[in-house]
């Protein structure tokens, strides 16, 4: 029950009745609401400034924990990194001591197998899984094609009636050396590990644990099986015919007898540390017409062109031999 209200009009000196239209009433209501709303929003902001909603509380707690743990882990990582750099220095030191050479750059040592992700550059794109898979397949096919073409080469060779010579030629590495980590020191001038003077190294050294199997690198006949505690230590010489001979030195034991015929890949003996040797290793020499030649040219059945390149670098790198 609204009372009728009047307003004093100073012009007419009389009281006029105040008429409130619906629109005016609405305007009043809306302005009230606006005030309430504004107040509510201001209060809201004030609330956010001093309090957290349950959801915010949970998230804040989580973030705090994440940050706390992260900082903890980060501290661990930085101490880890200092240990890792220590390890790197030690690694280089040991390498220098053993090989008497500056360490091979890590990138080169890791190249090849399992060490690095060859498809890294493809990562991070949409569909990168598919692209990487395809690239891998393509690599495999390329390799298979290469192997296939190699075997065609061999067939052509066989067709030329040279199967015997092909089988006799030293053509593989004398020990299993899949990732080439056994390659130690190659042909050429090297510092002698004992005398510490430059001497020409007429063969190739493969470091491997004592007892590692040694393979005949081509078909042939065993012409020397010698036990010795000096020089080359226990050694085997195989005559492959066609002017080729191979020599295997510092063996721990033999698996063949004098005069025995062997096939390529037969186990003829075991790696050792006999004679003038400073580490368990195989010293391998290839003779052509009684002259020592660089064995690196006689692994062609074994190595892909890339592996061959890497082997050359690896075998050139070491500054010191092992006998």
């Amino acid at each position: 029950m609204a009372k009728v209200k009047y307003r004093y009009n100073p012009d007419s000196l009389s009281y006029d009745r105040i008429q409130k239209s619906f629109g005016k009433k609405l305007l009043v209501l809306v302005s009230y609401l606006v005030v309430i709303f504004t107040a509510a929003i201001i209060l809201n902001l004030l609330y956010s400034g001093f309090f957290n909603t349950p959801k915010e509380k949970r998230l804040l707690r989580e973030n705090n924990q994440l940050l706390f743990q992260y900082e903890l882990l980060n501290d661990q990582v930085s101490s880890l990194e200092s240990v890792l750099s220590d390890i790197e220095k030690r690694d280089d030191n040991i390498y220098r001591t053993i090989f008497n050479a500056e360490p091979i750059p890590r990138s080169m040592r890791d190249a090849g197998f399992g060490g690095v992700n060859r498809y890294e550059y493809l990562e991070g794109f949409n569909q990168s899984d598919v692209v990487i898979e395809t690239a891998k397949k393509l690599d495999k096919i390329t390799k298979a094609v290469y192997v296939q073409s190699k075997s065609y080469d061999e067939i052509i060779g066989l067709a030329m009636n040279r199967e015997d010579q092909l089988a006799s030629l030293p053509a593989i590495q004398p020990i299993s050396n899949k990732d080439l980590t056994r390659t130690a020191s190659g042909w050429g001038f090297r510092i002698h590990p004992i005398y510490k003077i430059l001497k020409f190294h007429y063969g190739m050294d493969f470091t491997a644990p004592t007892g590692t199997e040694i393979y005949a690198t081509g078909d042939g006949r065993i012409i020397t099986v010698e036990w010795s505690r000096r020089g080359y230590g226990n050694q085997i010489i195989i005559d492959h015919g066609y002017g080729y001979k191979t020599m295997y030195a510092h063996l721990s034991d033999f698996n063949v007898r004098l005069g025995q015929e062997v096939k390529r890949g037969d186990v003829i003996g075991y790696v050792g540390n006999t004679g003038l040797s400073t580490a368990p290793h195989l010293h391998y020499e290839v003779y052509m017409n009684n002259k020592k030649v660089n064995p690196i040219n006689y692994y062609f059945n074994d190595l892909s062109p890339e592996e061959f390149d890497r082997m050359i670098e690896l075998s050139m790198h070491s500054g010191q031999t092992f006998d």
């Binding site: 009372k3 209200k5 009047y6 307003r7 009281y15 105040i18 309430i36 107040a39 209060l43 809201n44 609330y47 909603t53 959801k55 915010e56 998230l59 707690r61 989580e62 973030n63 924990q65 994440l66 743990q69 882990l73 661990q76 990582v77 880890l80 240990v83 890792l84 220590d86 390890i87 030690r90 690694d91 030191n93 040991i94 390498y95 001591t97 053993i98 890590r106 040592r109 890791d110 399992g114 060490g115 690095v116 990732d179 980590t181 590990p193 004992i194 005398y195 003077i197 470091t207 491997a208 644990p209 004592t210 000096r230 020089g231 540390n273 004679g275 003038l276 400073t278 580490a279 368990p280």
Partner: protein
């Protein structure tokens, strides 16, 4: 602006100014406040439920950044794993192989799974798995790293020891290859030139002109020198360490002091005829843990006279 309002008092028929009572004022204020608070609570509730609050959004952003940092940490750890794998290859297939020691057993490299309740305090969060997995992975990498570090520490020491061993062990002939000499007596049983009876000869005799330089055959320390009229006459014994010692006897002159450090190829005396000797010669013997061994096995015929001279000049 605020106009005074009036209403007509029906009793007095006068226009009376409208005045609000205190009660009504309080009532209005109360109503106003209640409405405002209710509205505020409503807004807070709804926005919280919808997750659209500014603060919450901000916290979510922070959260995403933190999770991202964990991902970066994970990437770094991939890197460490790769590095460690490389070191392990060096350790197992190169260094330990060359130093002739067994590789570390694989169980030594496997991280232990002991303290899994170590991370109980990280349970109960939305990112618990992320935090726990990252922490455990880092812990394993730390263990691997520590193990590698210890292993390399040992290998470093052993590699140096091997160097010392290689330079210490007798490995050359005690007289220059340029000089004329002949082996007058080998290691083993022989007829003693004085008693004419079989006796064990625990060294090699090099017969040559008196006054020839005699060289140390490996690095070491002069253990003692002795001069006597009989026996070995003027003799030097060098201790090479690692169980090896070498004896140089019947010298004309001793050119080192006891306790002196000598290097392989260093001149230590002159060949002579002192002691129980029938002519100028050098008696050279090698002992391994005080048992005489054949010196023949402690040098090779693979040096040219020039190369021998190079070794000698290295010692100077």
């Amino acid at each position: 602006m605020f106009q005074r309002r009036f209403h007509l008092d029906p009793k007095t028929l006068r226009y009376v100014q409208v005045k609000r009572t205190l009660k009504s004022k309080i009532l209005i204020a109360f109503l106003f406040t209640t409405l405002t608070i209710l509205l505020t609570a409503g807004i807070i509730n709804i926005t919280d439920r919808l997750g659209v609050r500014i603060k919450y959004r901000h916290l979510q952003k922070v959260n995403a950044e933190l999770v991202e940092r964990y991902q970066l940490l994970d990437n770094e750890m991939d890197n460490y794993d790769r590095l460690l794998a490389g070191y392990q290859v060096n350790d197992d297939s190169i260094y330990r192989c060359i130093l002739d020691i067994e590789p570390l057993p694989s169980f030594a490299r496997k991280p232990g799974f002991g303290g899994s309740d170590l991370y109980d305090y990280l349970e109960g969060y939305a990112s618990s798995d992320l935090m726990i997995n990252t922490s455990i992975r880092l812990e394993h990498i730390e263990m691997k790293t520590d193990l590698q570090n210890t292993s390399f520490k040992d290998l470093d020491r052993m590699a140096l020891e091997r160097e010392t061993f290689l330079s210490s062990r007798p490995a050359i002939q005690p007289i220059s290859l340029e000089e004329t000499y002949w082996l007058s007596s080998d290691f083993g049983m022989r007829i003693d030139p004085f008693s004419k009876r079989p006796a064990f000869h625990c060294g090699i005799d090099y017969a040559a002109n008196p006054g020839l330089y005699v060289y140390a055959t490996g690095d070491g320390i002069v253990d003692f020198i002795r001069t006597s009229n009989g026996g070995y006459g003027r003799e030097i014994i060098i201790d090479h360490g690692f169980g090896y010692s070498s004896r140089y006897a019947h010298l004309l002159k001793i050119m080192v002091q006891p306790g002196q450090q000598v290097r392989r190829g260093q001149i230590i005396g002159l060949l002579g005829d002192s002691g129980r000797s029938t002519g100028p010669h050098l008696h050279y013997g090698v002992d391994y843990f005080t048992r005489p061994v054949n010196p023949w096995f402690y040098y090779s015929n693979d040096l040219s006279p020039q190369e021998y001279n190079e070794i000698v000049s290295l010692a100077e």
